[in-house]
Structures are given as structure tokens and as C-alpha cells.
Amino acid sequence: MSKPSDLVQGTLDMLILKILALQPWNGWDIGQRLKQISSDVLGVSDGSLYPALHKLEHRGWIRSQWKASENNRRAKFYSLTQLGRKQLERETTNWNRVSAAISGIVKLKEA
């Protein structure tokens, strides 16, 4: 329920894109996978998931479609757009660069 920290806010977008890169999911599934992957460390609440999804959709990175879910109920499925795929690549590269730099600094401190 609480707002995620800034770091998470930035990475949440990337995580969602990453999850959707594999296959389309609905909101519930995305939430479940987020929890699995991040082992609850990031503490992404379901409350912050939906605004993030809507924002990504409006930026044109993901698109939504109403479909029948596994248990035959109507659910909104999100999938990655071409543009979203590019964005994911960009953010991944970015992330790798930043995290490499940060871990370098952290190690430096330890030494």
C-alpha cells in the first residue's frame, strides 16, 4: 500500500516489461510473478502495480486486451509492443551499466 521507494519506482517499469517480454499476462499474474522473482524484497504492492501498468500503456510500451483467463473469466491481458521491447533493451543496458558502476564503487569501499 505504501509507495515504493524511488529506486523501485524506476526499476518497476523495467521489471514489468521484462515479465511481459516472455508472454502476455493479466494484472494478477504479473503481481504474482513479481513477488516470486523478487522474493518480496522489493516490496512491490499490488496497489502500485496497476498505476504503473496504466502509465506504461499510455506511453505505448505495452498494450492491453480483454481475453478469457485460465479459469474462463474475462481478464485484461497486457503484452509488450515493439516500442516496449526497445525500451526494455534500453533500460536493461542502462541498468547493467549503472549496477556495474555501483557494485564497483561498493567493492572499492570494502577494499
Binding site: 500500500m1 493479466n26 494484472g27 494478477w28 503481481g31 504492492s45 499490488d46 496497489g47 502500485s48 496497476y50 498505476p51 504503473a52 496504466h54 502509465k55 500503456e57 499510455h58 506511453r59 505505448g60 510500451w61 498494450r63 492491453s64 480483454w66 473469466r73 474475462r74 481478464a75 485484461k76 509492443t81 515493439q82 516500442l83
Partner: protein, 891 residues
Amino acid sequence: MRVEQWFYSLPVRLRSFLHPNQADQELKEELREHLEQQIKENVAKGMSPEEARYAALRTLGGITQIEQQCRDARGGNVIEDFFQDLRYGFRQLVRSPGFSALAILCLTLGIGANAAVFSWVEGILFRPYPAVAHQERLLALAGTAQGERRATSLSWPDFLDLRRNCTLCEDSFVSKITGSSLSIGDHAETAVGSIVSANYFDAIGVHPMLGRGFDPGDDVGNDSHPVVVISYQLWRNRFKGDPQIIGKAQRFDNVPHTIIGVAPEGFYGTFVGWAMQFWVPASMEETFESGGYKLEDRGARWIEAYVRLKPEVSRAQAQQEISAIASRLETTYPATNRGRGFGLWALWQTPFNNAGTLLPTLEVMVAVVAFVLLIACANVGNLLLVRSFARRHEMSVRLAIGASRVRLLKQLLTEGLILAALGTAGGLLAAYWCRHALVLLLPARSGVAMYLPGEIDGRVMALSIGICLIVTLIVGIIPALQTRNLDLAGALKAESSAVVGARKKAWMRSGLVVLQVCLSFVLLVGAALLLESLQKIRTASPGFITTSVVTSGVSLVAAGYDVPRAKTFQDELMDRVSVLPGVQSAAFARVTPLGYGSYSSTPIAVDGYQPPLEEQPSIEYNQVSPGYFTTLGIPLFSGRDFTRTDDENAPPVAIVNRTMMTLYWGGQDPIGRRLQVKGSWARVVGVAADSKYESMRETARPFFYVPLRQDFVRAPALYIHTNQPLPAMLAALVREVHALDANLALYEMITLQEQVNRSTSPQLVAVTLVSILGGLALLLAGVGLYGVMSYAVAQSRRELGLRMALGASAANLLRLVISRGLRLTAGGILFGAAAALALTRLLGKLLYNVSPHDPWVFGSALAVMAATAISACLLPAWRAARTDPARVLRE
């Protein structure tokens, strides 16, 4: 945002904008679905349904908040913001209707003036011939001559050679304006038409709505194809829309012509300014043009023509080719073509119709309306500044609760757009109403349908929309600049009182007023210069008497008079007219000075004068009867006037003007010397003073006269020098004419002054338009100044009250406010005078005998501006003087 991103996000943005309820509904459903899943999972974990539900709600957080967050995430929706701003902007405008109406009126005037002038430029200069195909490749074709700055006419054989040899021209055709008398039943009238080449209708892509155009052979031979295509208007008005008209005969200049076609509605021919009523093939030239059969005479230059270039061919390329053709003709026919060339002109520079005469006026108008637009914008800007000051509180609150400055700018621009769009719509409407207004400014003449339409087409629309956007930027950004340095804390506090003339923040408003005064001063100077030169040109002496000489004509040709009968008639009429009471003298002449009719022109030779090798001197002349010089008051310096004995049986004689004497006889008296006219020798019997022949603006040029009897025309104009008023003279003349032949009709009678006025009508148009717009500018500037001053007074009531309490008299305060207003005005006039000194040169062609820096003109413009400024300040100053110190200081 990049284009690519728009591609993906536009559908969803549009959807959430157009169906906000549906989007909300789906969001609710999505969240409910999530909740259901959570509950299901909780139940699976072993909770009771009730418990599971609460737990799920806890995990998810407040549904309403999430919904709002989702909506916010969707936010930043440009379209939605825009429409929200639009709605808000409209509400704001409706809330202050006085302001809105004034602002929209200003913009309507500014944009409307621009749209109207653009539509005239489009309809008169760029796309003058509505129904004609591919006007963008059409050029005017005329002749050039060594030592002659003006374009000349072409001869028919030259035109045929040019048409045959021009490979870059898709088509070329002749269209020479001509007049004719037209009798239907017992009613005779003049009509204006064109003598055209047979390919005319095919070349311009106009197909007669009834019948056909001309056959290829129709322009060959002498009076061999008496066929005519009549205009739609003539068909409707004179022939009552007779569907069986084709094949019927109609007399033009008393020669029966077979009507073979009716031109479609909306086609007015190819002569800027006048609507053509009929078209005849060139083979009928001798019937309509005086001076004999000219289709085989390379020396007779009488036609005007157009060419259409092939696509992708430039004017320069085509000019090169036809110049080459011209120089080949020069070598082949030196006697007629020495020193002669061909010239191509863009349609808007056409030398032989009203495009050329109106061009300088319209050029000036484009600049003038730009000024008016700027002044209108400055005015609206000022109004907006006042309002933005009043809205400071609103803006501050919006900023305080988190609106970004960009968002506020967008809001202000949207409001500007609303104003500009309404102004543009009003302006286009005004331009549409004014599209035929130019004709009203030109003097009417009988028998001629003036046609000077404005054309509001895509290009004019696009230009107006462009102006609309520029205006939007200007009027949106001016108040935005004010909010830029909005001091939040200060603005939220109560407005502090101000001091007259000491407000730093007022610089922008003052600057706008200075700009307005400056621009309107320039327009005032321009209008005054034009007015003075119109005055001068209309009172200048053309070299002949204008006020007591009237001119008219008798329809001898239409009545079927042959040459001997016409000669007798002219003699008899002259005898009768000269003895009428009040008539001092009377005469005939073929061409009226300063009229549209063109003089005859001939290559000349003079005994003892050797022309430069590359030049074949060619001079214009008029055919006049005895008494012409006395009647028009043109002095004869030496020799004698023509007499009745200078007739067809006497040896040819001529009277030359003074410039001709100077040029060809070295200033020595040429009486008794010989002059070759049209190949035969005439003896010079007199020297007349120079006068104006075609235009008041022409410089002295050689000219001569021959006796009417020795170069006879059946329908000369009649001139009467009389002290009778025009209606009485007309009645007397009608009586005398009818005494000779009751069937004859008289043409319009006017004074020669009217003739001068008609010939200077472009100047009148310029004066009228610039004066109207200058007055408008003055009014706007006055309103602007008034606005600034009354606002300053309203803002500084405390200070004024204080001054009064400390002993200032009402007169002191009056002076204080007026001097502040005059300081602004003085600044504006200073800049305006500097700008006017630089800009009035552009009026060049429209000015006559007036220096663009005429001190009297600048002085009177200054006086008018100052008077306007004082009257604009008077009311605010009076209000300041009436300040009640006790009340103001208590507030």
C-alpha cells in the same frame, strides 16, 4: 514525444479521452478481478470467505486511491488537456464579455483587413482569370522597343512568327480589348469585348456552354469570319437567356455577326479589371479597330497576347528563346522591327491591363494591413495584460497548488487561440463581404462592367490560418511573460497600490502603446502623402483645359454611316454646335487624352535627322479636326492650326509638339519641314505645347497631330469648350444630333476633369484604402492609449488621493496624467517618424510631385496623432482630477 511513440499510444489516449467512463469501468473490472483472485487464494489458504475478503482488500490497498492513481498515470494527456483548456478558456471569455468582444473585434479588423487584401492580390494579380486553366504557367506577352521603357503592342505577323517558333510555349493566344456599339431593337449601347486569335477558347481551356468556340481558320482573312461568342451576362441580360440563340445574327458596330457560342457563367475574359462581353476572331479586326487592315502589316502594333509555358519551363528560359526569335525578325525585317523585341511578364505585372495599374497600390496595401494587424495585436495584448493582472490571483493559486508553468502557458495559448480563431473566422467573413469592394472605389463608366473580384481560395485560407497561429502566439505569450515573474507570496497578498508613471511593471503595456502609436503614425504619414499627391495630381495641369471642356461621341458606326455620310454629318454637327449659346469652340479627335483608347503609332522619318543605327523611331499621334487646340486650350507656339481645307484632297500636313521639335529638329522651328507618316511625307505646319497624352505621370514625350480628314475615322470623340453646365450642354447636343438624324444615340458625356479623375483612379483607390486603414489604426492606438491611461489611473488612486490631500489641485493631476500619456505618444511618434522616413520611399510609384519626406505631411500627421492622444487621455485625466482624497485614503 516521438512520432513512433504516438503511433502506439494514440489509440489508447484517444480511447481514454473519448470514452472516459468506459475506461473507468474497465479499470474497476480489472481491479475486481484482481480482488477475486486474491480472495480465492486466501480461501485456499484456509480463511473464511469473510476473512479472505478483508485480507484481500488490505493487501491491495484502497481501491479508490488506486483508481485515482491509475487515472493520474493516464494523465498528461495532451488532447484531454487541450479540450479542458478550451472549455475553460471559453468560460473565461464568456465571463468577461466586454473584453472578449473588444479583443475579437480588434482581431477581426486586423485579420479581416489582411484576408481582404490577400484575396484581392489573389483574385486580381495571381489568379485573375477564374475559369482559365493552368494560370500558374500563363505569362503576358508584349513588345519592347529600344529607348522605350513601357511595353508596346505586338503586330499580328510578329505574333504568328513567335507562335510558330516558340518551342517552350505550350500555347500562345491574342486577346486585345475593344469596344463596340451594340444595337438590339431600337436600343444602342456600348459593349466591351476582345479581339482574339482563333485558338483562344482552346488555349485557355474554356468551353462555351452553348454552341462552340472559333474554328482554326477564323483568324485568317479580312472581315471574312463575322462570328461572335457572347458572354453569359450578355446572353442573360440582353438576349433573355434565349436557348435558341446559336446561329442568330447580331450587329456589332453595325456589321452583322453570327452568334456561334455563349461563354460559361463565371468566365469574364482575360483582361484584369473589366468583364468582357463578347469575343470576335482577329479576322474581324478592321471592323473593330480603326486604322485599316492590319493582319498583314508588320509595322502595325496593336495586339496584346499571352503565352502558356510548357511545364517545368522557367520564364527566363522562355524569354531567352523569344528574344532569339525577336532578333531573327529584326534581321529579316529591319524596316519594321529594328530595335524591337518581345517581353514576357508574370500575370501580376501584366503591362497592358489593370493588373499593372493596381500593382503598386496592392503592394502598399500588403504592408499597410500588416501594420494594422500588428496594431490590433498590440491592442489585444494590452487588453490581455490588464486581464492577466486581474487574473494574477487565479494564476498564483494554480501555481501554488502545483500546476506547472508549462501547463499555465498552454492554458494562455489556448485562450489566445480561441480569440485568434474567432477573429480569423470573423476576418474571413469580412473579407468575403469585401471581395468586390475594390470596384466600388473605381469610378463607374457607362458601357463597361468593372470586374475586380477578390478570390478566397485555399491559398488565402492557408495564409489567414498562418496569421491566426502567429496571432495566437503573440497574444498568448504576452500575458505569459507577465506570469513568468509572478511573485507567489506577493500576488497572493492583497494588491498593493501603485504610483502613476512609476510602475516598473507597466513597461510592457507602455511599450505596446508606443508600438501602436509608432505604427499608426507611419500609416498616417502614408495616408497624408497619398492624399496630398492625389490632390496635386488632380489639380495639376495636364496641358489642356479640364473644367470647361466636355466630351462625348455619336454612334455613327452603329447607325451604319459610311465614310462620305459621316464626313457630311461631322461638318453639319460642328456647324450647329459652334453656334449654340455658351459654346466657345468645338472639335473632333480620334483619341481622348488620358482615356483608355490607344493612339495610332507610326514609324517616322525626318529630313535631316539620322536615327541611331539600332533604333527605328516610332511615334504616337492623334487625328484631330480644326479647332482642337483652341477647344482644349493647348497653345500653338508657331505656325497655324489645321483648317477645313486640310482635307483628303490637300497635301498632308502635321502639327508636332515641342518635345518632338527639340528631339528631331534640334529645337529649330520645323515649319515647312517634312515628316514621314505611315510611309508618306507630310509637311509640318505648326508646333503645339506639350501636354499629357496617356497618363498624368508620364514625362514629356514626342507626339504629333494630323488632320482628321487626312486619316479619317467615322467615330471620333467630340469636344466642346462651353460655359454651360454639363446637363444643359448634353440636352442641347442631343437636340442638335437628333435634328440631323433622330436615330443616332449619344455616348456618355463627361468633362475632361472627369477623364483626368478616371485616369488617376488607382491613386484614389490607394488613398481611400490607406486612409480607411490609417483611421482604423489611429482609432486602435487611441483605444490602446486610453486603456493604459485609465488603468494607470485606476491603479494609483491612493497616490492621487494622497497628492490631492497634500495640496495638489485638480489641474495638477489633470496635467500629470495627460503629460504621462503625451510622453508615451511622443516616444511612439519619434520611432514612427524614423520609421516613416525610411518607409515612405516605398510609396514611390503612387506619389506625384510630393517628396516622401514632405515636412508639411509629417507636421499634420503629428498634429492628428497628438490630438488623438490628448483626447484619449482626457477621460482618465478627468477621472484622476475628480479623485476624492477623503474616500480614497479611507479605503
